[in-house]
Every structure is written in structure tokens, then in C-alpha cells.
């Protein structure tokens, strides 16, 4: 797992005096070993328990990026539930039926064949995820992170910027593929109008495309931030959050694609 570089900078106002305590205390990495919460830990009698297993007063980059990741996680769960709602409607509608006046069971679902270009654009999206992941990992390479954090050039950001641009380009290519697929379907309007499954195709792809567009916007913001933001940690957060969102949209597309291709 790539490490988060945490500069050894702790606010002196908040750091308690630990010189008299047993053991090594802070091992120099800014962290203390986990403490058994049930026995009250190593309460020194000054009421200074460390129940959350964090250096006291620390709200460093680790916590900051965790915040954004957790926030993104909650947002993604909402987006996931949204798509689960749509997929549920899909599954239920597939099996809708009615009885005609002669009491025949009629199920009028006809699958919409997915245009072949969508296979290609799916592959493109997966590739863009790979590129994005390279960008993300390069932001945390510890050997060069120190240089960048101090201000000696921007090796990480430059590399990440290249990979992100690649992901952006591939993302745009994906959307172009989707647009082409829509045009192909639109060329058969009578078939479309008669067919609920095509409505679902549009709904899934359009809604996903809107979310992906937001992802493209985030990529652009990340690229701009790589250029303009002054703190390494902020750039790390920007890229990390964007790329995880991008991966989620890619995974979501994969599921939707499998649904549309094989389960209509």
C-alpha cells in the first residue's frame, strides 16, 4: 500500500510532555502503539488517555485524506443506491406482463442489442482507470514525496499530471463512444418507441454519462490543482479523491454493461 507521507510536524502547543512516562513513548514516527482500551490504557493520571490511538492533537494529512475518502465513500454509497433503484426497476419491468382480452399471458419485453462500439468504449474506460491509478500511486511515492513537499520541484505532480491527462483523454473517448452508441440506436426510432428495454439502455447510459462527466470535471480540477495548489497534501487529496471516484464510475459502468449485455 502506498504510504502517506506525514511530515513530522506536531503542534508544540498540544504535544504533552511525555518525558517521564514508561516505555519509549513516541517511537519517532509520530504514532504510539495501540493501547488496551478496556483497562484504561496507560492513563498517567493526568486524564490524558489516548483512546483513539492517535497522537494527541494530530489532525495531520493522514486524517485529512481519510476524511475525504470517507466522505467520498458515503457519496458513492448514495450513488450506488440510486443505481440499485434503477436496476431494481429494470429487473421488475423485465418481468411485467398483462393478460390480453383472450386471457393470454403477454410479456412484451424485447432486449435491445447493445451496439458493438460499447465493448470498445468499456475497454477504453477500464484503461482510463488504469491510467488514473498510476497517477494516484505516483502521488504517494515516498522517495520523491519529500522533495516535493520541501519544494524542490514537482516530480510527483508532473508524473501524476501526465497520467491524469491520459485518463482524461480516455474518458472523453469513452463518452464519444457512448454518443456514437446513442446515435446508432436513434437511427431506428420505430424500434425504440416500441421497446421498454431501449428506454432502460438510455437511462442507464445517460445517467452514468452524467456522473462520468462530473468525474471528468473532477479530473480537470485535479489537473488544475496539480498545477496551482501550493501544498503537496492538498494535491494528494485532490488526485486521490478524483481517482477513487473515477474507479467507482468505471466499476459501476462495468456492472451496468454486464447487465445490459447479458441480462436483458
Amino acid at each position: 500500500m502506498p504510504t502517506i507521507f506525514t511530515p513530522p510536524q506536531v503542534d508544540p502547543r498540544r504535544k504533552p510532555d511525555r518525558s517521564g512516562e514508561p516505555g519509549d513513548g513516541d517511537h519517532g514516527s509520530g504514532r504510539r502503539p495501540p493501547i488496551d482500551k478496556r483497562t484504561g490504557g496507560n492513563d498517567n493520571g493526568d486524564g490524558d488517555e489516548n483512546w483513539n490511538d492517535r497522537p494527541v492533537g494530530s489532525r495531520g494529512p493522514r486524517e485529512r485524506i481519510d476524511q475525504y475518502r470517507i466522505g467520498l465513500g458515503f457519496s458513492l454509497s448514495a450513488i450506488l443506491m440510486f443505481f440499485i433503484g434503477l436496476v431494481t426497476v429494470f429487473i421488475v419491468t423485465k418481468s411485467n406482463y398483462h393478460f390480453d382480452p383472450h386471457f393470454q399471458y403477454i410479456n412484451s419485453w424485447r432486449p435491445t442489442p447493445v451496439p458493438h462500439i460499447v465493448w470498445l468504449s468499456t475497454a477504453v474506460l477500464l484503461l482510463s482507470s488504469v491510467a488514473a491509478e498510476f497517477a494516484r500511486r505516483s502521488m504517494f511515492r515516498e522517495s520523491e514525496a519529500m522533495d516535493e513537499w520541501i519544494g524542490l520541484g514537482r516530480p510527483l505532480s508532473r508524473r501524476a499530471g501526465l497520467w491524469l491527462s491520459g485518463a482524461l483523454a480516455l474518458g472523453i473517448a469513452f463518452l464519444a463512444g457512448q454518443a456514437d452508441a446513442w446515435q446508432q440506436l436513434a437511427a431506428r426510432p420505430a424500434y425504440l418507441r416500441a421497446n421498454t428495454s431501449s428506454k432502460f439502455f438510455y437511462i442507464f447510459t445517460v445517467v452514468h454519462a452524467i456522473h462520468l462527466l462530473l468525474g471528468l470535471g473532477a479530473l480537470v480540477v485535479a489537473l488544475v490543482g496539480l498545477r496551482n495548489s501550493r501544498r503537496l497534501t492538498t494535491r494528494q487529496v485532490l488526485v486521490d479523491t478524483t481517482v477513487w471516484y473515477w474507479h467507482a464510475m468505471g466499476a459501476l459502468w462495468l456492472c451496468l454493461f454486464i447487465l445490459l449485455e447479458f441480462f436483458q
Binding site: H98, F99, P101, H102
Partner: protein
Amino acid sequence: MPSSLAAAIVDVFWQLPADAAAHGPALDRHLLLNLWIALALLALAHVLVIVGLAKRRRHTPPRRQVLIEFLPLAALALLFAFLATRAEALWQAARYTGPDRAALQIEVTGMQFAWYFRYPGPDATFGSTKPEFVSPGEGNPVGLDPTDPHSADDFVSSQLVLPAGREVDLRLHSQDVIHGFSVPEMRLKQNAVPGQDIHIHFTPTTPGDYAILCTQLCGLGHYRMTATLRILPEAAFEAWLSQHAKPEAQ
């Protein structure tokens, strides 16, 4: 105002509307049981809160916590389970199985804003309907298809007339929006959903005139989408049927 309130309570509370269906008394008994239990729990809880506030004891031994919380909770859970089981038995009786084979079949169609009731006539078969033929103004509110031979003896009434003591199977349809078919005095309620064919069955017992209401918001005329249910003794019902039977020749 106080006297009208008291009169209203006496009039209405101690007497649910007339109960004229076979499954009604059991439902009413269960409902009243629930209401009394709710009232008792309500009173008990309030008494406990008020008394508890007034008392001065401050120390509770830990083992008492089980008694205080978990025993009452277990008792309440058992109570709810008991009520649910009893209700489930009644629900199963009403809904799980279909109607008797000899049940009288009637199709109920709801539309904005009226109920129409179609009787299948002597051939005991409903004719087919087509939405294109729907024309309430011309006397064909359900859209009977004139080309279907079975439609000839179907007749549509705006009153639901039923014989006492015979099970009836209602087929609920809706033409436009969701309507709620409700007969409070038969303790009956079921939504009519467009595109669905929903069956409910019951046995009316007491002759009389009863209210049919719409209980699912269906538009601006929702409040006046009412109809009358007339329960007639068997002989009177046969007379009514023959009165409405269409002549064989069209």
C-alpha cells in the same frame, strides 16, 4: 360544543359502523382488543412516568436492570407477537385463498369519478372490453365490446346490488388512476390499480344500504366518488337481476 362532543363519542366510539359482512365480527373483536390494549398500555406508561418522576429512590442495583428493561420488553414482544398471530389468522382467512367456486362474480370498475359494477348475466361470462368503446355518456362506461357474444347479456349498474348470505367475488379494475374501493360497513378495502386485475371476496350478511367510498386520492372528484351497496334478501335479488337482464335479441 361539549355535549356534541360527548354525544359524538358515544355515538361513534362505542359503535363502529354497522357490521354487515361475515368476516366483520371477528375483525371488529380483534380491532377492539387492540384498541383496549393500546389504551391500557397508554395509561400504564403515563402512570409510570408520572409516578416515577415523583419518587425519590435514586439507586438501582444492577441486577434489577434486567427486570426493569428486559422483562417488560419480553412481555411486550410476546404481546405484539400474539396480536400479530391473531391478525395473521384473520388475514389468511380473508386473503390467502380465493373465493368459493360458487361465488357471485362481479366486476368493479373505477374511473374518475364513479364506480361501475358489471354483472356477467345468465351466461356467467364477462364479455370482453376495449378501451376504445369506453363512453359513459352513451351508456357504455366499461367499454363493452359489442362484437363479443358474451357482452350481450352483461349489464352495468352504478349501484352494487348483492344477495345476502352469498359469497361474492369482486374483480377490481381501474381505467385511469389508482382508486380505493372501500365499503366500511363490510370492513373491506382494496385499491383498484390500472393494469391489474385484483380480486377480493366477502360474504354480506345483513340486508340494507351501505356506503361505497373511494379511499385512494384520485383527483379533484375524489370526495364524491361514492356509490351505494344494496344488500337484498335472496328472492329480492333474483327479482332485481331478472329486471335488469337484457332481452336475448339485441
